[in-house]
Amino acid sequence: MIKKKATKFLFLTTFSKESLIEKTMLHCLKHNIEVVRINIEDFVPYQNSNLQIAIMDQDVSLKVGEKQHLLSEFTLIWKRRISNNFLSAERLLAGYRDAVSPEIKRSLISEIYQVRDLLLHCANNLNIPVINDYDPVCLNKPFQSIKAAQFGLQTPAILVSNSSTEIRSFVETKPAITKPLGGFGYMFDGSAIMSVYTTSVDQSYIENISTDVIFPSFLQERIQSQYELKCILVGGEVYCVKQYSVEDGGIPTTDIKTAIAEKKIKKVQYHLDSSVANKVVSLCQYYKLDLCTFDLIYDDQKGYIFIEINPDGIIEYYGEFLDSPIHEAIFRLLMDRAGLPNN
């Protein structure tokens, strides 16, 4: 008689303080599902690291504390926020700070990514479903916009160019923002840690550019709106939060972080028109996204306008404004992908 494999989930994460993973784990435990969590920072030696990984021809051994697991024992893998930012943060390789050059450190980080990818390749090889095993193409923001238009969504005008002439003529004709094509994460300059975010571009912003050819930059038409929609995709379901300014002046599209810190922004659950939701779901399916956030803006004349997808977006933050716990929706998604009943 063939012994039925016990249900066991692997959560592959980073050392993030986000408690979404813990809440989902608790929910799984409540339903008698064993969950093993490993953080990819633990692939490198550190004072509290308690993970030992051994990737072999046929299987992968994961020793977490005193307990040994084989990759083939897992019913499913959920990978969460393992793509950017965290590994590039200096804290991961803090022990290497003065030991090796920054160039070697970058190579070491790249090597850790290879270990992470190898683990996921092995999972695919063993036919273990991986949640949010998205196509990396979706990390490219301008292409998201190009693809969204193909799926019937309204999108702002975009320009990616290294020509200061082209950029000037774009900014002359419409209000604009600029943002990274993909994302830089955190950057280090001596002891300073820097980041870059979406920012407004007007004529004065670019008047001091002194060369005809510049580093390629991404510009997007700036859409003025009274509110923005922050949406969470879980499988084929869309949960939506309306984000609006408590003051009269409409939603700030560039300095939202400051506005939130100053408590000028409110958020409430919102029912998104199903015809728009279906188009974004199709776009996300194209990218093989199971779990992500995406942004829309509502314009009085044009209706809903697609802005961008964040493949590893802040799900828990926006989930706080919904009627039902988002981790329960994630649990249903995991169960569905594992081919198990979810109630």
Binding site: F15, V35, R91, I167, V196, S217, I260
Partner: protein, 64 residues
Amino acid sequence: MDETAIKKKYDDLTNQGLLPLVFKNITIEDPQSNHELVDRSHFVSPKFNTRMMNFQYIDRTFIV
């Protein structure tokens, strides 16, 4: 280097065409108030621990 000098440095490099336009407006992060930059020793065990549930949710930085 102080914050103003760093911002000026990246503003100048962008004006020279060496960096993407978005670098004209860099943000200097405060590692003490940004949970993603807090040294790992300040975190609790990465192993599953119900104590994690007692953490008060705080506004997250917008990184993506």
